[in-house]
Symmetry: C2
Subunit: 313 residues, 2 copies
């Protein structure tokens, strides 16, 4: 399959390498000049479970994409949420009516952005439990195992979605076709929509947050807002199960001692966050559906306030 | 007039000294042993607009109050909000059916506590614009001018309230009898209920907070919750005027560069805050009146979370 990875950060690089190893024709697209330069010079270098792997993959900046680039069968979207729109605006020349897009971004509401550039019939959505770390320009660290769940959002996309599952299977990505991937996306958004914003605003790690007497009420109220909005999209979250799932992350012997990615982005690295695509998306959708989401609204605004105060870029 | 000051911190000491200078018989009650010891040894020492003043006032701990203490005409409540209940429980022996109490605490809901110990007819409420600083045990700094507004909460208390105004007038406290002091209390609570919690959670001063693009929405939403609850108590806040009043505090040439008292209590000194008597009180009252106050609920819980994380006492 001819595949382009739109957003070749840590996770995009993992998929690029594994799909390349699986015999596919992979092109990377990324906007970071040093990353492009390093990959063009040395290839994409990975510490792949302790073994060095070098993949010589073509890489372009979004601006370099024009009608002369070869068309691809599938574009896998793995940008930062706030860069998705600009990326797809720039790579429009490579999108034909035959091009499918698989969106693997965390968060909510990305279909609304993609539908501006891609017919709904050609959009697949998914969720990945793989991990990946970017070590520097052209270098990633890929440890452990994971899986990918994916689904077409329009019934007509199912045939292609199953082809993608097949291709991912051969690449060792442990894919599964889901008949309800949007449930999994909302469930994962609940985890990010509680721990990310709250640990960032309270300046604590996941275990410290979980130990607070107020954590239960804050988390349950936020989940209830996600559930009320999800219901308007015909997704019926099991709130008690989601809460239990979140409580499991508090374990200091698991990921409890970690600081969520938003904390690392904002508090450590003074980068803008993805809050508008998690709690902010629930808030926007809530306004559209006339569902009150005050905790999401307040948390979104507090995180934006913190971004300003820290001069995040 | 025979007056006891229940809570002889900075503001209680100011009132004690000024009322003593005004010819009244003043007794202090406070729970800080070092403060009691210093005042018993050296008197209460004030830097009073640059001049040293020493007032030899009797001081007791709440536990020392018994039936042998002389009865007083007026008890002025000036404890920390969270200490009010314990204070009045301890000093019950000095409260007769003739004893009036004037509550000058910031925040909301203190009448509910006082009514456990004092008949409603004997409760006065007020608000002060005087300032005062505690410099150490037995030492306060009293600069500038201020005023006090006060009112009986039951019609039958008006006669005594006017006597108190007279006594305060002679002591230079610039009192005024108000026919709507509860409006002023709610208006002041809006200032504390926005700047205190938000600057504490966002870790910024008042001017920095005011400069944030999100400040307008956060402040207006919180004011709207205060207003909705106040309305249930027949107090009709002018939300636009309150917002303008808060915006004026952002001025760096005014108090903008200050950190609110809650910030100083919690972030600097790791002390428990009065959030339960500001946003927390609006939240509790909202539950009682069936009025949604989610921003107050979330802010209260975030501040309690921060208290836990900082080991506040």
């Amino acid at each position: 399959m001819k595949i382009a990875i739109a957003g070749a950060g840590a996770m995009g690089s993992r998929l690029g390498i594994m799909l390349h190893q699986g015999g596919n024709d992979v092109t990377l697209i990324d906007q970071w000049p040093a990353h492009i330069e390093a990959i063009r010079k040395n290839g994409l270098i990975a510490d792949f479970n302790g073994e060095e792997v070098v993949a010589n993959l073509p890489i372009f900046s979004p601006e370099e994409i024009d009608h002369q680039n070869e068309q691809v069968d599938l574009i896998i979207a793995l940008t930062k949420a706030q860069q998705l729109d600009a990326m797809f605006k720039a790579i429009q020349p490579m999108i034909t009516e035959k091009t499918y897009v698989l969106c693997l971004l965390n968060g909510l509401g990305h279909e609304d952005v993609l539908e501006k550039y891609v017919p709904k019939e050609n959009i697949l959505v998914g969720i990945t439990m793989w991990t990946a770390g970017l070590e520097g320009p052209g270098r990633v660290k890929l440890l452990g195992d994971g899986e990918i769940e994916l689904e077409n959002i329009d019934p007509s996309g199912k045939k292609f979605a199953l082809e993608v599952v097949d291709v991912f299977q051969k690449a060792g990505l442990n894919p599964s076709y889901s008949s309800n991937v949007r449930y999994s996306i909302w469930r994962k958004a609940c985890v990010n929509g509680t721990l990310n914003g709250l640990c960032t605003i309270l300046d604590c790690n996941i275990a410290e947050f979980g130990a607070l007497p107020v954590s239960e009420s804050l988390v349950k109220t936020l989940i209830s807002e996600f559930a009320a909005v999800a219901e308007k999209e015909a997704i019926y979250l099991d709130q008690a199960e989601v809460y239990t799932h979140i409580v499991q992350t508090y374990d200091p012997n698991g990921i409890g001692l970690h600081y969520p990615s938003m904390y690392q982005d904002l508090i450590k690295n003074h980068r803008l966050t993805e809050i508008d695509y998690i709690n902010g998306a629930v808030w926007r959708k809530g306004q559209k559906y006339n569902v009150a989401t005050p905790f999401c609204a307040m948390l979104t605004q507090l995180v934006h306030g913190k971004e300003e105060l820290l001069g995040a870029k």
